[in-house]
């Protein structure tokens, strides 16, 4: 019936077919104008046939409408059918038909003719015509024939849809209410139905429910047909009974409807039952009434019903048993899956079974579920495995049986069964930590076939959780980490967490792994969540590994089966909608009905839509919030982005090109002058900075140099953990120590420290460390001042540069290495002049190297940081393209000069390093990295 397609087909068709079409129309016109009823009838049949198939036959409207006043009922019906279809697009012509309708509606002899006219008039959805309809409609409401009255009732609701104002003005709604008192049940049912329609579109109560009208409806319900029963039941469901007595009385009348064979009636009756049970007080009456629903609900699942009805029934049963479990307690067998059930029925049955499971029937249910896990349908099998897991979580007493069943699933080695089992076991491990370690071995045998990311993530989580029990956890995790970059986000997260757990529990096994992983996660991963987490872990490890341990191994909130249930408020709302779509979708009706109103630009724009707007506002809030979060996370990124991205990557860099053009070795004449002019400024700058320098030096992160399980050298005492770092503090070097006592019963005190011989002759000022005794579980911070007057050591420093240290305590002596950064050893006074710089850079015995530091940093910030940490700016050059080359110099505490040329680009920093000894190269590179990234 779509006009556009019809016109399109005519326009696109050839001329001959158009003329044939024209000819057909002509023939039909002729036939309509003949006197013979048969020829007219056949012509209209053809027209309606064409109309149904989407052809445009509207041009025949005048010819067809002429035949309205026939006495032949068959012809009349056909004409009406035509008019209903085209009246809307030809309202002017439709008005012509009005008189005929009015005449028919007042026909004295035939009630069917009157009803037909009323019904058809209501279908012409043209405002203009509505006005002509009102009088005949008012008469028909009082018609002596019930068939006409019932048609009139619905007609009012139809017209309300077209012009609500007119209907209200004319008091037709009042007349409709009066129809509730009609003697004929069908009329009452239709009046109820019409009032509900108006109520729905108007948004205010139309059907006044009080004990009187309730009685009317209840009486009518006994006599009208099944559809009428549904209207009545739906109306009753809206009633709020005054007390338990009334509710009980109504239930008494409603409950026989449960035995109807129309599932619509059964579900509508259940809706009232469920709602009114809340008003009853006596537990025994509640029980009896609730149990009345059992058999009818189960009968809806009979295979005699279409699977679709079964599906709706299952969805509703699922809701009903959440509210009142007593209704279906014993009959679990009906929810066992038949092999020929469609998959959606099977899945829904599993859902119900998991709700019905209790300690008495679990054996039976488990037995059945185990059978299902051997079926062919993958989706069904997976859901069956998942259901076993849910039973385990729900029923603590039966958990062991469920775990045994899952264990068997693992042993099948069927890929998808194993994967699903792993996911489920993860939840079980969360619920019952450390209880079922016996299956770990079988779990770990299934690492190869984990294609499903969730299964993989679950497996990794399990390994991480039992990192102390699974001996080869480190190699397992190392395997998983190999493809870290290609994994989906959830797997990456789990790898990160698991490796973190590994490192915290078994530092020696996980050290390398966590290091590499954090590097990869921070440098190469694009997922901000993952990166942030890696940064957080990194920082936690560098500041306080103990705290990190506490955080990572924190007690998790327990999980329970209630996570699968619907919260009470929504449940009550859904119970009110038993039998409706929202109970199947488990969504509130507003969520899928109102949108359409917007789409169709409905005219009902009053209160309901206001509420809807408010809803939108409410929905808006989380978005705003997420914006804030977004903002926060960018702040984090700004902070984190500057972190160390140390990557020794030797490449032909920009610096070379620049230095070829502006050759530092053969300076032009005027350039030194420029630079000399600049230098005093810089020096003043430095001087102004000096007073604040003491707090502006970078903080080297603590490193755990002694772990609690490293025994002392003499009495093998364990339990002392030390984290330490050399720091530059103004022009002093200090050693910060964090001493933690992890024993249960020992107290450490009387600390002393001594360094082994080392390249820069470092040694503590005093051997004793000023520190309080450290009691069990406590942590103390101590500091030791360092000077460079120690015994000489001929070897140049190696990367990594570490200093061996002996720590004396009251109980034992511990030996360990402390990592050292070159940045600590820079001299705080500027000793290299520009002249010296040029000389040095020309020297023969100097090592040179190009390096790239992959970090993003603001150029001003870079300069400031370098200068703050005793790199002194010697000169600045620009080539013709505007590329700026900065020359810096620093000297070490022993007077060794270090020269650095820097070109800043938005994505990286190009460095040209010149040092007197090649072994210093990586140390200098590392030191610049620290300076630019640490705070």
């Amino acid at each position: 019936m779509s006009r556009p397609s019809a016109s399109a087909s005519t326009s696109s068709s050839s001329r001959s077919s158009r003329s044939r079409y024209g000819k057909e129309v002509k023939e039909l016109q002729d036939a309509l104008n003949q006197n013979k009823i048969e020829s007219k009838r056949d012509a209209i049949r053809k027209i309606i046939d064409a109309m149904t198939r989407g052809k445009d036959v509207s041009m025949l409207f005048p010819d067809v409408a002429k035949n309205m006043e026939t006495s032949n009922l068959e012809l009349k019906k056909l004409v009406y059918l035509y008019i209903i279809n085209y009246a809307k697009i030809m309202p002017d012509l439709a008005v012509m038909a009005v008189n005929s309708f009015r005449k028919d509606a007042r026909d004295k002899t035939n009630p069917f003719l009157r009803a037909l006219a009323i019904r058809t008039m209501g279908c012409i959805r043209v405002k203009l015509i509505t006005e002509y309809l009102l009088d005949p409609l008012k008469e028909s409401i009082k018609d002596e024939d019930s068939y006409v009255r019932k048609t009139a009732a619905i007609c009012i609701s139809k017209l309300y849809d077209v012009s609500p104002e007119l209907i209200e003005e004319q008091g037709l709604l009042k007349l409709l209410e009066n129809l509730l008192n009609d003697g004929n049940a069908m009329v009452v049912a239709n009046a109820v139905c019409a009032l509900l329609i108006v109520q729905e579109s108007k948004g205010t109560t139309m059907l006044q429910l009080n004990p009187y009208t309730i009685q009317k409806i209840l009486t009518a319900m006994n006599e009208c047909n099944e559809w009428g029963v549904i209207y009545c039941l739906d109306a009753l469901a809206m009633y709020i009974p005054e007390d338990g007595k009334e509710a009980e009385a109504i239930l008494e009348r409603v409950s026989p409807r449960l035995n109807h064979n129309n599932p619509g009636v059964v579900l509508s009756a259940c809706k009232i039952m469920m709602k009114f049970l809340d008003y009853l007080q006596n537990p025994e009456t509640i029980r009896q009434n609730a149990l009345k629903m059992t058999a009818p609900l189960i009968s809806l699942l009979s295979l005699g019903k279409e699977p679709e009805i079964q599906y709706v029934a299952l969805k509703n049963i699922n809701l009903i048993i959440q509210k009142r479990p007593i209704i279906i307690e014993k009959d679990i067998k009906v929810f066992f899956c038949n092999f020929n059930d469609p998959i959606y029925i099977k899945l829904q049955k599993l859902e119900v079974l998991s709700k019905l499971a209790n300690n008495d029937n679990i054996q039976q249910i488990l037995h059945e579920l185990k059978e299902y896990t051997q079926e062919v349908d993958v989706e069904f099998v997976r859901k069956s495995v998942r259901t076993i897991g849910r039973c385990a979580i729900k029923l603590e007493k039966a958990a062991e049986k469920c775990v045994t069943a899952l264990w068997e699933c693992l042993k099948t080695k069927v890929n998808y069964v194993v994967m699903e089992s792993i996911i489920v076991i993860r939840d079980i491990f969360r619920k019952y930590p450390r209880k079922y370690e016996m299956i770990l071995k079988d779990l770990c045998e299934n690492l190869k076939s984990l294609e499903d990311p969730e299964a993989k993530a679950s497996m990794i989580w399990i390994i991480g959780e039992y990192v102390d029990t699974i001996e080869n956890a480190d190699s397992l995790l190392a395997n998983f980490s190999e493809n870290f970059k290609d994994e989906p986000a959830n797997v990456q997260h789990q790898i990160l967490v698991a490796v973190m757990k590994l490192f915290l529990q078994r530092p020696n096994d996980g050290k390398e792994l966590i290091h590499n992983l954090l590097k990869t996660a921070t440098i190469e991963c694009e997922n901000p969540d993952l990166r942030d987490r890696a940064y957080i872990y990194w920082r936690m490890l560098s500041t306080d590994p103990e705290l990190a341990k506490k955080i990572v191994f924190t007690e998790r909130p327990t999980i329970s089966d209630s996570s699968y249930t619907i919260e009470n408020e929504l449940l009550d709302k859904l119970i009110e909608n038993i039998g409706n779509l929202s109970s199947v979708y488990t969504k509130k009706p507003e969520s899928f009905v109102k949108k359409l109103r917007d789409v169709l630009n409905s005219k009902i724009a009053d209160k309901i839509d206001d509420v809807y707007d408010q809803d939108q506002l409410m929905e808006g809030k989380p978005e705003d919030y997420s914006d804030q979060q977004g903002g926060q996370s960018t702040v984090y990124e700004n902070n984190y982005d500057t972190s160390s991205q140390i990557q020794s990557q030797i490449q032909q860099s920009q610096i070379q090109q620049v230095s070829q053009k502006i050759d530092l070795l053969e300076l032009d004449d005027n350039q030194p002058q420029q630079q000399q002019q600049q230098q005093p400024q810089i020096q003043t700058q430095i001087q102004t900075q000096i007073p604040t320098q003491s707090i502006q030096n970078i903080r080297i992160p603590f490193a755990e140099v002694l772990t609690a399980n490293t025994p002392g050298s003499q009495t093998q005492v364990q339990g002392l953990s030390i984290e330490t770092a050399f720091q530059k503090n103004g022009d002093k070097i200090v050693l910060d120590l964090k001493i933690t006592n992890k024993t249960q019963d020992k107290t450490f005190s009387d600390f002393g420290i001594k360094f082994n011989k080392n390249p820069f002759k470092l040694q503590p000022d005093t051997i004793e460390i000023q520190c309080q005794p450290v009691f069990p579980g406590q942590t103390q911070i101590a500091q030791s001042l360092i000077n460079t007057n120690g015994p000489a050591f001929e070897e140049p420093p190696q990367m990594p540069y570490k200093i061996q240290v002996a720590l004396k305590t009251n109980l034992d002596v511990f030996y360990f290495f402390i990592p050292m950064s070159l940045s600590v050893l820079f001299s705080s006074t500027a000793s290299i002049t520009q002249q010296k710089f040029i000389e040095l850079s020309q020297a023969q015995n100097i090592a040179r190297k190009q390096e790239v530091l992959q970090i993003q940093i603001d150029p001003q910030r870079m300069k400031e940081r370098l200068e703050r940490n005793y790199f002194f700016l010697i000169g600045v050059r620009k080539d013709e393209r505007g590329v700026e080359l900065l020359s810096y110099a620093a000297s070490l505490v022993n007077g060794m000069p270090l020269l650095v040329n820097v070109i800043h680009t938005p994505t990286a920093i190009n460095l040209q390093l010149q040092v007197p000894h090649p072994t210093l190269m990586p140390l200098l590179y590392q030191a610049i990295g620290f300076i630019l990234t640490l705070n």
């Binding site: 559809w227 295979l303 005699g304 067998k333 779509l581």
Partner: protein, 439 residues
Amino acid sequence: MFSQIFILSPRGDTIINRDFRSDLPKSTPETFFRQAKTYSGDANPLFAVDCIQFAHIKRGGLYIVGTSRFNLQPAMSLELLDRLAKEIKDFCGVINEEVLRKNFILIYEILDESFDFGYPQLMATEQIKPLIVNDPIQPQPDSVMNSLRPKIQTFNIFVPNTIGSQAVQRSVLNKNQANEIFVDIYEKLNVLFNSSAYVINQSIEGCIQMTSFLQGNPPLKLALNDDLQIGRQQGQYSAGVILDDCNFHECVNANELDMNKTLRIQPPDGQFVVMNYRISGDYSAPFRLFPIIEEISSSKIEVTIKLKACFDAKILASYANVRIPIPKQTANAYPELLKNAQQETAEYDSNKKIVEWQIKKLQGGQERSLKIKLTLQATQTAHTARKEIGPIAMNFEIPMFNVSRLQIKYLRIEERGNTTNPHRWVRYITQSSSYVCRI
């Protein structure tokens, strides 16, 4: 309720299109058909596109669709469409594309009486019969369309495609018809055996269905077994027929059922279900399966299945089919029947990895057996593969037999002074619903 009801041909052409509320776009049939075609098998009966709810059923290859934009009642909607299909069938005799195209005016009439503004009004055939003015047009008996028409969808409750009934393809509007009534007792069996032929779970879903062509719709009295009992008490044992639950058509007055075991019926025209019932108790299963699996070698398995018909020798099952799923890693399978086997076939479908064993006509008390020799691919051993065999499912139909022993004692026409004695046809049919043996 429904905004529109339309009926589409299997190719998506609109045969009937009735718009009740004009609140949805005209293009919904196309929207529906496009969406329905996206499903691999049959489309979901309920789905939504852009907040338009579509409910549909498929009959005779045709889509009968209702649309709505409200929170409609799915169970009721599907029931309505089903009733509509029944009405159309009552009036036209059959549902197929040709008949509907020929009778589209009549169907519009039926629609207009059945629905007003999309709300169901009168949906009983005998109620709208006086309001219908068009006569049905019967299709040409030997037209090409008719012979090509798709088989009636097995979507319906009970598939009447094995036993011909005169009642099936007749219109209620046919004035010169015989004065007769058909009563069918259908029972569908659900049985689950374990590998040692022990019954784990069983139930019966049954119904009494009538197709009435009685003139003047006289009231009927239907008497059932004397030992009938409704509602099962816990742990109760009784020799009689115990129904767990039953429900009735609205034309049935069941007040006397408890006392006299009789139902009073005011029969409408055409087909209707008098009573649905459900039995969960023990009954003797009509067929028993005895599967034996032997590992001949690491790559060979032999499956032997014995089938025993455990009912009276006077009764004949019209067919019995057995489906045996075999391991996915099967290289080849050779089903072997007994040498004296008659009217039996056994085929191996290598794509689905299923052996289908079909037996036509099986007399009560007889035993049949089938041996399947399986050769496995090298990748799997017999020991692990044997777990993939099964479960064995059976399909059968046994006419003139019912397991529950629910019986019609008599069907009386309660009209005094009625000289003509209408024909009463009573049939019993037992079918399998889910008849499965686990291995």
